[in-house]
Symmetry: C2
Subunit: 152 residues, 2 copies
């Protein structure tokens, strides 16, 4: 199955209500490379900076976005195992995150998932404000799993 860029963009910006109501937007969407943004407006905490839960979400979604642009969605599906977010400074503007995956890493994941039915991978990201300052750093542990693996 081949997804069009428009299909992937819609899956990432409006996958379900929780993300859609945050106003998350795709800025770049390429195989093994995505960049997303989230507006401050509507996602403020009680002191007017971006709420930690919105920062979590912009750090978590690239895992699924990279999966869509990089892997065959008719053969594999992604699972999130663990996410750590370290808060560096308050986010006082809209924020962005960019994440990339190398060709060898993508190849390793496919080979391992084909062999074992699943493959783990780690994605680390920096959430930046409009001035390019890092407001939070993330480390997500994901798995790609094969759909209907052949019985061993």
């Amino acid at each position: 199955m081949k997804l069009t860029t428009e299909m992937m963009k819609s899956f990432i910006e409006k996958p379900f209500d929780f993300v859609e109501r945050m106003g998350l937007r795709v800025i770049e969407l390429e195989p093994r490379s995505v960049k997303l943004s989230v507006p401050l407006q509507g996602n403020e905490n009680h002191i007017g900076t971006m709420y930690a839960g919105a920062l979590f979400t912009i750090a978590e979604i690239p895992g699924g976005a990279l999966f869509l642009t990089t892997f065959d969605v008719s053969r594999f599906y992604p699972v999130i195992k663990e996410m750590t977010l370290r808060f560096i400074k308050p986010a006082k503007t809209d924020v962005t995150i960019g994440m990339v995956m190398s060709v060898p890493e993508a190849e390793r994941i496919v080979l391992e998932a084909e062999k074992n039915g699943k493959a783990e991978y780690v994605l680390e990201g920096e959430i930046k404000d409009k001035n390019g300052e890092v407001v939070a750093v993330s480390r997500g542990i994901y798995q790609v799993r094969i759909i209907n693996p052949i019985a061993q």
Copy 2:
């Protein structure tokens, strides 16, 4: 300053839009002990289980809720430094989280914040589904900071 239970309940359930639109609810609210719930409805991901960002939020809010019920909000304020969420199994129902802080731990935090202007504390929690099954575990690192500390 003394907050009433109703004031605290409102601060926790409707601190700002992001949390209010999730439908988070206070179940128990005592000094050093809180229990919260989040409905599945409105917080589903693309496969109908609870989205990771909603699980993050129900794990993060108790830090602020325990702060409100335990510490003097006219003297101190809380900051979140880091949060790790480990996903155990899909959440297919509404979920709850309970968190407690011991008396000695609360006393340590106040004494340390009075002495150093700030004190770090760790909160660990289990997010459970309606059947009591643990769907995710959290570990948050927070700081209590003193408002207008006396110059050293």
